[in-house]
């Protein structure tokens, strides 16, 4: 269904988002995605498993209907990968990112850019910079200490987070692909598609996730999780591609820690379902992870994996 501008304004106003964003980002995302005419998805979560992580990524997206369903010809694509640190199991694998870029190119993307706040050193050390440049894509690194690089966005439905500073660069793209590595996080046990969005918000905003009022808060776990869910109410990735090939299950998010190797790449658009699936890879359940549970209660997706269609293939 195509959403026209008037419908969009009505919908935006009804959730209070219009006054926050202006029309740009939200309308662009909603209208473009609707207008691409992606085939009605027969599956919600696509999983490809095997030793070749590049091939897994291609297959996971292909089984979801193909990148063409998400990336219109000539569009500007923003990718948010995680180059946190080159410690094993702590960063999005270069092969996974490379495959995603290739698919975007094949779909006819006009520009593909990895946006980040982490320094060039991280991109270099993780091997991610090489694949981005090899594929002719770009990396834009925002200086997170420069607050002028961010703009304040209100979060109308936020329960703990009422506003966030989001990098201005993010608003220059037509399509947003969220590409985290799923892994442990000492602060809340889990990181996946939803927590990865903290890569778009400023240090000031993110620190407020971890600390209330800039003071150490020993009860902050619930607060952090609510903030993550709240942030996700204003940003909807067009596609999530999760690296679950090899990742740390202890001492996250930085590592080093114990590593499991499911050798899986997961693709989907329902963040709650995708994260529920990811946490199940190391014995957790979505309903036990607060951020997933809170996002479910925000209506962002389905938490019960029995209620979503999952297609898994082994290569």
């Amino acid at each position: 269904m195509k959403i026209n501008r008037r419908d969009f304004i009505k919908k935006s106003a009804s959730i209070g988002a219009f006054s926050v964003f202006g029309i740009g980002l939200t309308s662009r995302f909603k209208t473009k995605r609707a207008s691409i005419g992606r085939k009605a998805a027969s599956i919600d979560i696509s999983v490809a498993q095997g030793e070749d992580y590049f091939a897994n990524t291609l297959k996971a997206v292909e089984n979801l209907g193909g990148m063409e369903g998400f990336v219109p010809k000539g569009s500007k694509v923003a990718i948010l990968a995680n180059p946190q640190r080159n410690n094993p199991g702590a960063f999005t694998k270069p092969e996974v990112l490379q495959a995603a870029i290739k698919m975007c190119q094949q779909a006819g993307a006009g520009n593909i850019t990895c946006i980040s706040q982490l320094p060039d050193q991280n991109w270099e050390a993780t091997g991610l910079k090489k694949v981005v440049l090899d594929e002719g894509a770009h990396i834009v690194i925002i200086d997170r200490s420069d607050e002028s690089q961010f703009k304040t966005v209100l979060i109308p439905n936020g329960k703990a987070l009422t506003e966030a500073q989001i990098m201005k660069e993010f608003f220059n793209y037509d399509v947003f692909i969220d590409m985290p590595i799923t892994k442990d996080h000492a602060g809340n046990k889990f990181t996946g598609t939803m927590k990865n969005l903290m890569g778009l918000s400023s240090s000031k905003t993110n620190r407020s996730f971890h600390k209330k009022g800039w003071q150490t808060d020993i009860n902050a776990i619930d607060h952090l999780e609510q903030c993550i869910a709240d942030l996700n109410t204003i940003i909807q990735p067009d596609l999530c591609i999760v690296d679950a090939t090899e990742f740390i299950t202890t001492n996250g998010p930085f590592g080093p820690g114990e590593i499991v190797t499911p050798q899986k790449v997961i693709a989907g658009t329902d963040r709650v379902a995708v994260d529920s699936y990811c946490c199940s890879l190391w014995g957790l359940e979505g309903k036990d992870i607060l951020q997933i549970n809170k996002a479910f209660h925000h209506g962002l997706g389905e938490i019960d994996l029995n209620k979503v269609k999952i297609k898994e293939v082994s290569l």
């Binding site: 993110n206 080093p256 820690g257 114990e258």
Partner: protein
């Protein structure tokens, strides 16, 4: 004459003070970079890029959300640097300066995996398949390789041995750990905790700090886990126990509650029994699938507390709660905590 004596005394004092200050600086270098290996000691290895450092709150800039657990223990400063070898190997070094040796040991115990083997470096060192952690004084050092080869493991040990002598001497274990080092009560692994994040990562009782934890240990045994949480006094322990009990009873994660504010038994959805009780200035918790083990495990821990406790506690009965029951309001008639805590 008096003025001359005063003058010479002042000069001597200044000379002594200057020498003393110099000595202190030698022992405690101003820059944490001084603890990194120097190129002259590296042979075939060379540093990659510039080291990254962080102090206090800025650890967030360096390791993002990973910083919170360091802050919980008490973080001062850190340096991270990468090195590469002519052979193609590379590794990362992370040096964290913590507030004191308890917090350094705490972070070390938190980060140490279950599968590692001990190595003789610093106060304790554990080599995992691709990384090595050790601690000394108020420093925790983590060395990370990128494969599990013997060459990588050897390199991790060699780098650790270069860094270790540069760090200040000493290091003191938190006293609570000693309850799990004696032969009778020796744990496979212990984690010293100084806050809610630490215990949350051991077992998810609750996301809020319902135990008001400031100091504690989780001790792992082959088939169960024991927790000991320490407070300033008996009444504080009992108050926090009541608070925890109130919250736990409202949690959907647990069921089969028996007991009340003086002691509790309940189960989690994985079939674990949780037996918890305040004892002197502590809260003790057993977690395991074998209900009958709780009694013996808690008994041993209580014996250890009484043996290692302060002399003014020595007159307290090992079975304090049983012989000096808490008021009835804490123990309804049906309550059966004593089956876990009594010797009879």
């Amino acid at each position: 004459m008096k003025i001359r004596i005063l003058f010479y005394t002042a000069v001597l004092f200044l000379i002594f003070d200057a020498c003393f200050s110099y000595s202190s600086q030698q022992k405690s270098p101003e820059s944490i970079l001084n603890y990194l290996p120097t190129e002259s000691t590296l042979k075939k290895w060379s540093p990659m890029g510039d080291p990254q450092t962080a102090e206090g709150e800025n650890l967030f800039q360096l390791i993002n959300g990973g910083a919170e657990i360091y802050h919980e223990y008490g973080f001062k400063r850190a340096v991270i640097h990468s090195y590469e070898c002519e052979s193609g190997l590379s590794l990362n070094i992370e040096i964290y300066e913590m507030e004191d040796s308890f917090s350094a040991y705490g972070v070390f115990s938190f980060k140490t995996g279950r599968q590692g083997r001990k190595v003789d470096i610093g106060m304790d060192a554990i080599l995992e398949d691709y990384y090595l952690n050790f601690w000394k004084s108020n420093y925790v050092v983590t060395l990370i390789g990128f494969d599990t080869s013997q060459a990588t493991q050897q390199a991790l040990k060699e780098f650790a041995k270069i860094i270790e002598p540069k760090l200040p001497d000493g290091g003191e274990y938190p006293p609570l750990i000693h309850h799990f080092t004696a032969k009778e009560t020796e744990a496979v692994r212990t984690v010293y905790m100084e806050g809610n994040l630490a215990i949350f990562n051991q077992y998810e009782f609750h996301t809020e700090n319902i135990f008001g934890i400031k100091k504690g240990v989780s001790a792992y045994f082959p088939d169960h886990t024991l927790f000991i949480l320490e407070y300033n006094g008996n009444s504080e322990a009992r108050d926090w126990f009541q608070n925890a009990w109130k919250h736990l009873k409202q949690s959907e994660k647990f069921h089969g509650f028996e007991g009340s504010s003086g002691g509790a038994v309940f189960q989690d959805k994985n079939g674990n029994y949780i037996v918890a009780t305040p004892f002197q200035k502590y809260i003790l918790v057993y977690l395991g699938k074998n209900e009958s083990k709780a009694k013996d495990s808690l008994k041993k821990l209580k014996i250890s507390i009484v043996k290692n406790g302060n002399s003014h506690h020595s007159h307290i009965s090992l079975w304090g709660e049983a012989k000096h029951p808490v008021p009835d309001r804490f123990f309804p008639a049906s309550f059966s905590i004593n089956r876990y805590l009594n010797t009879t």
